[in-house]
């Protein structure tokens, strides 16, 4: 469909502030009387705290206060209330706050940190879920049975299992009786870090008027507001949270994380704002980690390739506090089907307490990890069936009329998986491979299909406030956090389209402030364009209706006889009878000054329609909307070094409607590179004592300029019935298919199956040597 302002590349409204250095990020905020905090981290990843001596630190220059967790009586969390702002009598991971120094400068605060003396009694350390699940494992949370949790969760007190989620579709595991062929595999998606360029940070200010004011580089201001209000026993309206520009998120700035710690620290110096910004090391060792997911998968199929049964067990090493991991596990479990229909499913997900920093959201939210397994297994199954892998997939794609694991029926409007796959196949596999190897390299091509739904929640709505000004320009205010994804541009274009005015006349909010911004649950799940966009369309419709209502009085007619074109409200039967919107914005002022009608303003919100909690089978309307896509890699493996070069990467997604071509391409470019990092370089490594071995960029390597492949990116547009103007989510999806596509390409190049990432040059060299030995044996 042709739109006036959609499908065009407008420049993002925040680009100018960002190229001039005027964008304000958390660390750029300076407040009068502001103090600085430095946080002490433990020597052990799991230990009882025997004593803390802060006396020497208190005497250091510039020190205002030294804080410990002593006296903290509350726990917090959105899903399982298992978190403490600062260790009380026990540390559970290597990045846990043990004490903090508040001083006049960061330098003074850090200098005093060394003077705090802590005595510990070390406990056994568990890094992997299965270690922590062993029967003789020491409990990381003895109090698990006492924690408040969402009614949909199922913790196992007396064990380290924070939650078990189980889904049964059809006959469950019995469905394998119908299979002719069964394959099994175990896959590992190790710990990672979102590693956004801007480290996480917060400022908290307990004010004398008993309000609490907070600034944070977070995407969930309303969760922070509600949670802090609950912990400190003040009305929610007395907590005000500001979100400045955010220097990248990719997941780990969602949910409440560091804010509660900084609030605890700041509560000891009421009247003074306290700032804390993570060092890079702290950003990796003390904020949320990613992944840590092992997927054990069994697939049963008919001889003709028809998939019949899937059994998945997800072992999620959730870290020391599982509040942020439980929903990732659930998403990983029911989305482990990938974009395929299985008649019978037996899917289990364990979220397990371990002694790592808490694991939480990472771009893809539980989809990249199990679908890495699914997409590798599809290639393996095709080999076992001696079938073309494209044909095998095509036979089983979710399409109109099929049902997914959750029991949700798929409609044509959910998008066209097969069309995405066919297009990628054409782009990358359209011509025969030029060569298998030469003196220097092996060559390979690999494919992966994918799907993603948001991970919603019952209250995951997004609000929109809209007001028209006296010159006909419009201000749009929303609670969506701009982390770089370009949602302000999207707001502008959707509002322009809905209001029939040029985007230049739409100005959208800069910072979020819970005192003035409409409610939004969190800006997560690739939902802003579709859900926020729907809220904008609804607000625009209401605003136009309001203009018509006032105009009906002015023109002395009925509202339903009126039309609106962005400049005028006019009589449909005689457009010369009209009133300009500029005369309606503040109500209509008649000749003698008597004013009639309402202000041209509106409020609306939108959520996923009929999103529900899971039923007793773990099924239900938990996905609601899906984006399908296909990706493929063309790689070279250097024989001498084992290094993998990704020469070309192709992605095609059915996004419903492209809003802004340059931005959506940017989203995919960046997402693919992030997936490439996971496939080839990135892993947060622990030693046996639970210490992180690579907490810096020079050790935790994220892809650089020269490692970026050439990319082909295309979109299919099957309009979505929920999203504004047919648009659906795309933010996270580009990451999902990258590791399996690359690992499938590695098999194509050297005939070796890898089951875990990252595939480093050392692993390739080992595999090549083992292959050679086998040949000569």
């Amino acid at each position: 469909m042709a739109y006036k302002y959609l499908g065009k590349s407008y420049i993002r409204p925040d680009a100018i502030n960002k190229v001039t250095g005027k964008a304000v990020f958390l660390d750029d905020i300076r407040l009068p009387g502001m103090l600085h905090a430095a946080i002490l981290r433990p020597k052990y990843a799991h230990a009882r705290i025997l004593s803390i001596d802060t006396s020497e630190a208190e005497k250091c220059p510039g020190v205002v206060k030294v804080v410990t967790g002593k006296g903290c009586t509350y726990r917090y969390g959105d899903n399982i209330r298992d978190l403490v702002p600062m260790a009380i009598d026990k540390v559970r991971h290597i990045g846990e706050p043990v004490a903090a120094v508040i001083a006049d400068t960061p330098r003074h605060a850090y200098a005093a940190l060394d003077k705090i003396k802590v005595e510990y009694d070390p406990l056994p350390v568990y890094i992997d879920a299965r270690q922590a699940m062993s029967e003789d494992a020491v409990l990381i949370h003895e109090e698990l049975g006492e924690y408040w949790h969402l009614p949909t969760l199922n913790p196992k007190p007396g064990t380290n299992i924070a939650n078990v989620y189980h889904l049964k579709k059809g006959r469950g595991e019995e469905g394998f009786e119908e299979a002719d062929v069964i394959i099994e595999g175990e896959f590992n998606y190790p710990f990672g870090s979102c590693a956004a360029l801007e480290p996480h940070g917060s400022i908290v200010w307990f004010k004398e008027d008993r309000t609490i004011e907070i600034w944070s580089s977070s995407i969930c201001p309303f969760i922070i507001r509600d949670d802090i209000a609950h912990s400190y026993g003040v009305p929610v309206s007395d907590v005000r949270v500001h979100i400045p520009d955010i220097g990248g998120c990719f997941g780990y700035k969602s949910d409440i994380t560091v804010e509660q710690t900084i609030a605890w620290i700041a509560s000891f110096v009421p009247g003074r704002p306290v700032k804390w910004v993570a060092s890079r090391k702290e950003d990796i060792t003390s904020t949320l980690l990613a992944h840590g997911i092992r997927t054990v998968m069994k697939i049963g199929a008919k001889r003709d390739g028809k998939l019949v049964a899937l059994k998945t067990t997800v072992y999620h090493s959730g870290g020391a506090y599982s509040d942020t991991a439980v929903n990732v596990t659930i998403a990983a479990t029911h989305n482990s089907t990938g974009p395929y229909e299985f008649e019978h499913c037996d899917l289990t997900g364990y979220t397990v307490y371990t002694n790592t920093p808490p694991v939480g959201a990472f771009r893809g939210y539980g989809h990249p990890e199990p679908q890495f397994a699914t997409e590798r297994m599809m290639d393996m199954l095709a080999r076992k069936l001696n079938m073309d892998p494209f044909e095998l997939r095509r036979k089983n794609y979710l399409r109109e009329g099929s049902t997914n694991s959750l029991g949700e029926r798929m409609w044509k409007s959910n998008g066209d998986m097969q069309a995405c796959a066919e297009r990628v196949q054409q782009i990358v596999f359209g011509k025969p491979k030029e060569k298998q190897e030469d003196d220097q390299f092996y060559y390979g091509r690999g494919f992966a299909a994918l799907m993603k739904s948001p991970k919603g929640a019952p209250f995951s709505t997004k609000g929109c406030y809209m007001k028209m000004n006296i010159d006909g320009s419009v201000s749009v205010n929303m609670g969506g956090a701009e982390v770089g994804q370009g949602l302000r541009t999207v707001v502008r274009q959707i509002a322009a389209e809905a209001l029939k005015i040029p985007p230049e006349k739409v100005r959208c909010y800069n910072e979020i402030d819970t005192q003035f911004s409409p409610y939004e649950w969190q800006t997560i799940g690739s939902m802003f364009t579709m859900q926020g966009g729907r809220a904008i369309v609804r607000a625009a419709e209401k605003l136009i209706q309001g203009l018509k209502k006032t105009a009906a009085q002015v023109l002395r007619t009925d509202e339903d006889y009126l039309e609106y074109d962005g400049e005028y409200v006019y009589l449909r039967s005689d457009p010369s009878i009209r009133v300009p919107v500029t005369q309606l914005a503040r109500g209509y002022i008649t000749d003698n000054g008597i004013t009639i009608g309402d202000l041209a303003q509106s409020v609306a919100d939108a959520r996923l329609p009929r999103y529900s909690n899971p039923d007793q089978n773990g099924q239900g309307n938990l996905g609601v909307t899906y984006t399908f896509g296909a990706q493929a890699a063309e790689i070279r493996i250097e024989k001498k070094t084992g290094r993998i070069y990704v020469d070309h990467f192709a992605s095609v997604f059915d996004v419903g409607q492209v809003i802004n071509p340059i931005q959506i391409r940017g989203t995919v470019l960046g997402g693919v590179l992030m997936g490439l990092g996971a496939a080839l370089y990135e892993e947060v490594k622990f030693d046996e004592e639970g210490r992180i071995l690579n907490p810096h960029y020079f050790q935790y390597h994220i892809p650089t300029y020269k490692e970026a492949p050439q990319q082909t990116i295309e979109f299919i547009e099957t309009p979505d019935p929920i999203g504004a103007f047919g648009a659906r989510g795309i933010g996270e999806h580009p990451v999902i298919g990258v590791p399996p596509a690359i690992l499938n390409a590695i098999y194509d190049a050297i005939g070796v199956d890898f089951y875990e990432i990252p595939v480093t040059p050392e692993k390739i060299k080992q595999a090549l040597e083992a292959r050679t030995e086998k040949e000569y044996a």
Partner: protein, 162 residues
């Protein structure tokens, strides 16, 4: 131990007192409140803190503040002339190279040091310069596009002047 140093920054002459352990970034961000220069890591890896000092791109996080004595320094705040953006800023804003924008100031300054002294820089020189900067958002392609447009704009500006 404090020391007094003087330098020119963004065309303004400034004189400040520094501690001996201070780095250039501390003076820029914390003494002069020029917060456009960013801190993204602990050990000079990410490139977000790059500024131009005596015409060269310098990592301000590991350059001792004493080196500022007598220097001519340019930060991201010093590029635009009033409302008129520098060609590099314009190109980077328009090419899609800005997403979260946290790496942007460092990259703009890196390109400034390169292209203002060498408008004919080869693609390899550009790529070597950009390879010193981490970006987690864009996949780098739009940054390359922006750099090439900027180079074009700077060349055109020189032709106009000539």
């Amino acid at each position: 131990m404090t020391e007094k140093i003087s330098f020119t920054i963004n065309g303004e002459y400034r004189s400040v007192e520094i501690d001996e352990e201070m780095m250039v970034i501390d003076v820029i961000r914390d003494v002069l409140d020029l917060t456009g220069t960013k801190r993204g890591c602990d050990n000079a890896t990410c490139g977000t803190c790059v500024i131009v000092m005596n015409g060269k791109a310098v990592k301000s996080c590991n350059t001792p503040a004493s080196k500022m004595q007598g220097a001519n320094i340019l930060t991201i705040e010093g590029l635009a002339k009033g409302m008129e953006l520098h060609p590099i800023q314009k190109a980077i804003a328009e090419s899609g190279a800005v997403q979260c924008g946290f790496c942007t100031p460092g990259i703009v300054m890196e390109l400034h040091a390169l292209l203002e002294s060498k408008p004919d820089a080869s693609e390899t020189e550009l790529s070597n310069a950009l390879n010193k900067h981490l970006c987690r958002c864009t996949g780098y392609e739009p940054i390359r596009d922006g750099a090439l447009i900027a180079q074009q704009l700077i060349r055109e500006r020189m032709t106009e002047k000539a």
